[in-house]
Symmetry: C2
Subunit: 200 residues, 2 copies
DNA sequence: AAAATCAGGTGACAATTGTCATATTTTTAT
DNA sequence: ATAAAAATATGACAATTGTCACCTGATTTT
């Protein structure tokens, strides 16, 4: 019997997945969570065989949870289940050693199938992701990401200055660099591009 | 037997909802669609009793479909099912006369219950939405929305100019007005605020 | 018909933003 | 220990952005 844990912040999908997977004869859903922190705690406690994990969740993202599980050498296998084909997400997920990465665009049978494959030690990645230019690496350094994250919220150079304790010239230099890297004309466009790619 | 139609662009949720609602003894899912255009066509053809409709779908949004159904005096009752508590969405939905508005944050039982209520002619709205400040009306005029939509993509004043055939001064006047209405400090922040509220 | 409203525009100004070349300082590598 | 690299800072400049007061011509309202 495969013991499953599901972390997903959209209650309706969480409930639906839970019900349907529980109907599979060889699976049992032993726990659920609606945010990353709770998920991490419960996974440590319950020691499931496989965790299905959404990425965009409150408190801790699914990627952060996966990274933390890897750090603590948890035996639980992680399958990321997300709406978004953002390259940055995929890159981070693979780096943290997850066993699967699926889009919420397949059907439940496919998901159940993936779970069974993962249990045997295989890794399963959505073909949409392994192909084409989705392999783009995030060109931004951590500091650049941090600055763009703030700029994307509409903060001015001055506001960023006082959050990061850097001079306003430095901030503008960083932004200038970011714009070149992303081929954007201004902060707003840069923010849009980075958000689409999952780089922020 | 209640005849249901489901329009939802996330295949996994679509499939899951379909399976689970079909198990209800008094319901039958007679059709599904993954975009608004297909949904509209199929609803006209199949004449379901109730349509569950996501808002954010390709081609036509769920709101546009609901508005079109209202215009054509379709007897199908519409229940909007969305992740987002954006006030602008709710306002538009109510104006187009939908019979229900639920967040994807309840469980399936609640959804089934809502469907049964709607069938009897009742209207059901998620309590999260009918209360508090979520009643905020969109303060932006259509032209302002159009301009902000472009600005939110990172377009410069000059680019907006050439798309809308307005002078650059006029664009800047509009943006200035938008910033005041939204209490934002710059375009980026304005875009963020409007997007959150569902006003763009 | 006069008055008000509206969509669009001008011009002037200050502040912010983006670019670039060039320091200075701190870290890292050899 | 020294050289190379990175991170941070400056200053100068042009372009863009945001603010404001005011103008013009239609269209509505009264």
């Amino acid at each position: 019997m495969i013991r499953l844990f599901i972390a997903e912040d959209q209650r309706m999908l969480l409930g639906a997945l839970g019900s349907l997977l529980d109907m599979e004869p060889d699976m049992k859903v032993i726990g659920q969570a609606m945010n990353g922190e709770e998920a991490l705690r419960e996974i440590h406690r319950l020691q499931p065989d496989v965790c299905l994990m959404d990425i965009e969740m409150p408190v801790l993202s699914g990627l952060e949870v996966a990274e933390e599980l890897a750090r603590s050498a948890s035996p639980a296998k992680v399958i990321i289940l997300t709406t978004f084909a953002r390259p940055g997400y995929f890159e981070r997920a693979v780096k943290s050693g997850v066993h699967g990465y699926l889009l919420k665009d397949g059907d439940i049978a496919e998901l159940a199938d993936t779970i069974r494959q993962v249990i045997t030690g295989k890794r399963v990645f959505s073909p949409e992701l392994t192909f084409h230019a989705i392999r783009e690496e995030n060109p931004l350094t951590p500091k650049e990401q941090e600055i763009l994250r703030l700029a994307a919220l509409g903060k001015t150079t001055k506001q960023i200055t006082s959050e990061l304790y850097l001079s306003s010239g430095t901030i503008r230099n960083y932004i200038s660099e970011i714009l070149q890297k992303l081929g954007a004309n201004n902060r707003t466009e840069a923010a849009k591009i980075a958000a689409e790619k999952g780089w922020l």
